[in-house]
Amino acid sequence: MSDRMLTMAEAVREAMTIAMEERPEVFLMGEDVGIYGGAFGVSAGMFEKFGAERIIDTPISELGYIGAAVGAALAGMRPIAEIQFSDFTAQAMDQIANQAAKIHFMLGGALHVPMVIRAPQGSGTGAAAQHSQIVENWFTNVPGLKVVVPSNPADAKGLLLSSIDDPNPVVFLEHKLLYKTPGWEPVPEGASRIPLGVSRVVHTGKDLTIVATGIMVKKSLEVAEILSAEGIGVTVIDPRTLSPLDMTTTFDSVESTGRLMVVQEGPSHGGFINEVIAQVAGSRAFGSLKAPIKKVAGLNIPIPYAPQLEKAAVPQVEDIHAAAIEIVRSWR
């Protein structure tokens, strides 16, 4: 067992490097991914290792190069396209939502689009409203896209390797606050994959099930540990892939704990996590609920700039903690 504690940036880089060593058709393209190493340093050193033909610096043309990635994928390559901030996927949305997502279905299945779009999302860097959004729900509503949101470096590595292997377009959303801090567990050496569409139980407890996405998994885990010392047992479930979505683990857990809380950083209205609530409400687990389902989510506002305002816009550990105590203590 390895004891390497990597950051998300290191884990993602390692997965891309392994994939490029395994398959000549894999290449990375994006803004400043070359000698600069990417805006968040994710591809640092890869240009030196693989050269300009496989680590391709693009002009500032998100629509153009995401489209080029679609075309390259159709023509036999397996591109990884990095978008510097996930907010900028809006520039490329035609190629993502109308082209990449639909080609296999709409064109009768003869063509497919094996590509990965990697992009950092989330707040906490003081970059304000156009560089801080959670965009996962933009993509979960588009049939034909797989959506992966890793919460820690070990999962990021295994999920990215599977995403690159996948014959379909995958939107892979990394949280920028996780790039530079180590995860809670070692990252295995080698090329082991984590299949898409399988959720993970990251903490086990008997009183409450929390389903969270991305960085909220990490925060929920902190809460679970605090509550454990306070005598409350919390199960934390990380779906890891939002499309396709594995709900079986959640149904099982809710049947056992009788309480469900969902946590996402993105704005509450129309967010991905509402799908989890809807599916539980319509499932065999509904009858086991002892309490109303609790949602902890971002405010319905653009992310503000000043640190105290930014912090107030998205769930913090204290918010999750307070909500968890409330649902467990009020509904026995």
Binding site: Y65, A68, G71, D94, I103, G108, N168
Partner: protein
């Protein structure tokens, strides 16, 4: 399924080449007439975008292309499909929502792709195929395939951001792609005079360091000669060309069009410059084929379309079962 008659070379270089060019222009014409007829008789639903009057540009361009060369096409794409060698029965069957249609009834008129003839797909989004063609050309270059990619699009696409981003990338990376702008004078109802402050739309290439060439798009010989130079340059590593084929759309934009934005006189004037008659007079001038031989070419085109329609009408309708399973390509 690939048409046996596909032939590369100058339309006036031999009797076979002249027959080929004439046959394909007639096939496109007769196909579009058949589509209009099927619509009129209520056998086809949805909408249609006919390319009657524009037969020379797909025919001339595709006579420069190897089977392994690729194209992207548009909402007005039946001609491109046919000229690249698609199977007429599978095309008509798609329009009729049949199981044997190119897309199994899932795409219809605007989404026909044909992997065997290098057709990466028609596109319902104006300019949507341009970045895709550029990416396929990037793949050709990276994989050293020696193939070229032609992106067909209309005048309207030149004002979409996707064209600009893709043209720039194709230029800076010297990609083997040819941008073929079929300027049929109108983007729906908006004339090129209203939408451009340019006389020759090909001048748009200058801004990207791309040669821009304007030809009579109703002259299959002029189209062929210009495309042949562009294809040679692209194949030799010289990068892209913007080829503007000036032509005219006889029919309305789609079935909702009442032709309120143009005059009958204008339409009649363009009908007098129609591409098939123009080519037939060249053939007679060069003594390549007799009138009787040309008549029998026209009859052959009619027969092929009639047989495609008859076969398609009898084919099994596409069924809703399996639609959800068709969204993603299976992970092997």
């Amino acid at each position: 399924m690939v048409s046996k008659e596909l032939l590369i070379g100058h339309p006036l270089s031999s009797r076979e080449h002249a027959k080929h060019a004439l046959l394909y222009m007639w096939k496109i014409r007769k196909f579009e007439e058949a589509v209009e007829d099927l619509f009129g008789r209520g056998m086809m639903h949805g909408t249609m975008h006919l390319s009657v009057g524009q037969e020379a540009s797909p025919t001339g361009v595709c006579m420069t292309l190897e089977l392994t060369d690729q194209i992207t096409s548009t909402h007005r794409g039946h001609g491109h499909c046919i000229a690249k060698g698609a199977d007429l029965t599978r095309m008509i069957a798609e329009l009729l929502g049949k199981e044997i249609g190119y897309c199994g009834g899932r795409g219809g008129s605007m989404h026909i792709a044909d992997v065997e003839t290098g057709n990466l797909g028609a596109n319902g989004i104006v300019a949507g195929g341009i970045p895709i063609a550029t990416g396929a050309a990037l793949a050709s270059k990276l994989m050293k395939k020696g193939t070229v990619v032609v992106s067909f699009f209309g005048d309207g696409a030149l004002n979409e951001g996707a064209f600009h981003e893709a043209a720039n990338m194709a230029a800076i990376w010297k990609l083997p792609v040819i941008f073929v702008c079929e300027n049929n004078k109108y983007g729906m109802s908006n004339s090129t005079e209203k939408a451009f402050a340019l006389e020759n739309l090909a001048d748009r290439g200058l801004g990207y360091g791309i040669p821009g060439v304007t030809v009579d798009g109703n002259d299959v010989v002029a189209v062929y000669e210009a495309a042949e130079r562009a294809v040679k340059m692209a194949r030799d590593g010289g990068g892209p060309t913007l080829l503007e084929c000036v032509t005219y759309r006889w029919k309305g934009h789609s079935r909702s069009d009442k032709n309120l934005y143009r005059t009958k006189e204008e339409i009649d004037e363009w009908k007098s410059k129609e591409p098939i008659a123009k080519f037939m007079s060249l053939i007679l001038e060069k003594n390549l084929l007799t009138q009787e031989e040309m008549d029998s070419v026209q009859q052959q085109a009619t027969d092929e379309i009639v047989s495609a329609v008859n076969e398609s009408v009898k084919a099994k309708s596409a069924e809703p079962a399996g639609l959800e399973a068709a969204v993603f390509r299976a992970v092997l």
